[in-house]
């Protein structure tokens, strides 16, 4: 069965999530990957959105972080201060799942501006929950489409800390979470070198060449000695994902006024 690069990315990301984990979920690709995991191998994964909806089980994907479907299917809904104080900062989140506009070789994420902060070339939406998800979740996963503008040597602006300038700088600064464990892209999986914390290619998706990935990465990407080839999406995952996205697109297209 054929599949798109985006499907490959989402399914790969979903497969990295474990049943029972407590995930703080960003909207968009992270939300898609987390719900796919919940509908396949991880039925007891706990999804938390920053709108205060805890343990939600939406039957279609929310467009916004606070769609009614998240509240309706939650075990409980708490206030926004509570979700950030008691859950995220309180150390109750296993995995923070983020996207972003730019990421650099040390996993720092920019979702604020392209160009100088006070005189931006492109003003992006900004931080949202990302800085504290990136610092306070036990581990962070990042999902982003691979291209040369997004994967840069150094981000224009650090919205959310990865390993900063690499090595043990993150730990030395007292940031509690372990930091980004992997970047899942539409071309492969990048993981940090245990010493330098520079992200390296550890898995390549079938049909993608190393050169193609290097061409789409803004730093001199190192290739892991144990480079793996990512597993091809199974029929089951493709079916579940397409069904989810189809139902979602129907629901979001028709005005509900």
């Amino acid at each position: 069965m054929e599949y798109t690069k985006e499907e490959m990315m989402i399914i790969t990301a979903s497969r990295l999530l474990q049943n029972g984990e407590v995930c703080f979920v960003g909207i968009g690709l992270p939300s898609t990957a987390c719900n796919l995991a919940r509908l396949t191998h991880a039925p007891d994964i706990v999804l938390i959105y920053e709108s205060g909806t805890i343990d939600t089980k939406p039957h279609l994907l929310p467009l916004s972080i606070g769609d009614d479907i998240l509240a309706e299917t939650a075990s409980t809904v708490v206030s926004v201060p509570e979700i950030f104080n008691y859950w995220l900062q309180g150390g109750k989140v296993d995995v923070g799942f983020l996207g972003g506009a730019q990421i650099d070789k040390f996993g720092n994420i920019n979702s604020t501006v392209i160009g100088p902060y006070k005189k931006p070339k492109v003003r992006l939406p900004g931080a949202g929950g990302a800085p504290e998800i990136a610092s306070n979740a036990k581990n962070t996963f990042v999902i982003m489409k691979h291209n040369i503008r997004a994967f840069v040597e150094k981000v224009d602006f650090i919205t959310s800390a990865g390993y900063l300038n690499g090595g043990d700088e993150r730990r030395k600064m007292g940031i509690p979470g372990e930091g980004p464990q992997c970047i899942i892209t539409d071309m492969g999986i990048l993981r940090p070198n245990p010493e330098s914390k520079e992200f390296e290619l550890t898995s390549i998706h079938p049909g993608i060449s190393i050169q193609e990935i290097k061409d789409n990465t803004g730093w001199d990407l190192k290739i892991s000695e144990n480079l793996a080839v990512t597993e091809v999406p199974s029929l089951e995952y493709l079916h579940v994902l397409r069904d989810l996205q189809y139902r979602t697109s129907i629901a979001h297209t028709h005005s509900q006024k």
């Binding site: 769609d67 206030s79 902060y117 931080a127 929950g129 504290e132 007292g174």
Partner: protein, 276 residues
């Protein structure tokens, strides 16, 4: 109905002044669009607008040139992309230059909590290593734990002149009930000097046995009936989020001219709903 109940036009006219700091909250849910539209119709200006997620309503106020400064933590169209009016105001000063004060969600929620708690600042473990803290030392500072010596982030409390929220129900005394996602609705009410509330419905008695929060009437400056007052966002139990419109907004708002035309037809030429 008591004096607390007034037409929305009256509440906006009497309680919102040019130059005010206004927080219209509602985390995706219960966004007070009708109140925002009435502010636009009345042409209140030089406003400082505070809101975690500016959403379409602040995009509209900004595009109408009524806003001097926006305080926010995520300024996009959720699930869709940019808020084009906000973005063009920041990038190019169209239609007028826009100051920004920018936070993370965690910090801004903390600042509201501090305001609600009568404290001058809030404390969080956040911002470490990020550029938001480096660029904005005037409102993101550090504080040291006197027990452990740990350095934490300190954020200035938010105390708006006027807080505006939309809620599902009021009873006849003006007690307010909200259920579903409550966001920072409670905090903005406690933190604000004046509080205006629009509601879907006025009921004889609130069902306090059901899930949700109650805002006691004596914290509320004025209440206006405004059915569908949160559209195109949603009011749980009344109507769903109009996700389709949020997607259409991307096109409507892309150019200033197109935006203004839409506003003329859909906001400026309409009059506010009033209590009969």
């Amino acid at each position: 109905m008591l004096d607390k109940f007034q037409p929305l036009s009256f509440l906006i006219q009497n309680h919102i002044h040019d130059g005010d700091q206004i927080a219209m909250e509602g985390f995706t849910h219960l966004i007070p669009f009708e109140a925002g539209h009435e502010i636009i119709r009345q042409g209140k200006k030089e406003l400082t607008l505070i809101r975690m997620t500016p959403d379409l309503i602040y995009d509209q106020l900004i595009g109408m040139g009524l806003v001097k400064k926006v305080v926010f933590s995520w300024g996009g169209n959720p699930g869709v992309g940019s808020l084009h009016r906000l973005r063009e105001a920041v990038e190019k000063g169209i239609p007028t230059p826009l100051e920004i004060e920018e936070h993370s969600h965690a910090a801004m929620a903390c600042a509201y909590q501090a305001g609600a708690s009568g404290l001058p600042f809030g404390v969080l473990r956040g911002y470490t290593g990020t550029d938001l803290a480096k660029e904005n030392p005037e409102y993101i500072k550090g504080v040291t734990c006197p027990f452990t010596g740990e350095k934490l982030a300190a954020i200035k409390a938010i105390r708006p002149d006027v807080g505006i929220i939309h809620a599902q129900q009021a009873d006849k005394k003006g007690n307010i009930k909200i259920w579903g996602i409550t966001g920072v609705q409670k905090e903005v009410v406690y933190a604000s000097k004046k509080v205006l509330v629009t509601v879907e419905e006025v009921v004889d008695e609130l069902d306090t046995q059901n899930q949700g929060i109650v805002i006691p009437h004596w914290l509320v400056t004025g209440v206006a009936l405004a059915p569908n007052g949160a559209q195109p966002s949603y009011a749980m139990g009344y109507y769903k989020r109009d996700n389709s419109f949020y997607k259409q907004w991307d096109e409507i708002s892309r150019s200033q001219a197109n935006f203004e035309e839409w506003m003329n037809v859909h906001v400026l030429s309409k009059s506010v709903n009033q209590i009969p």
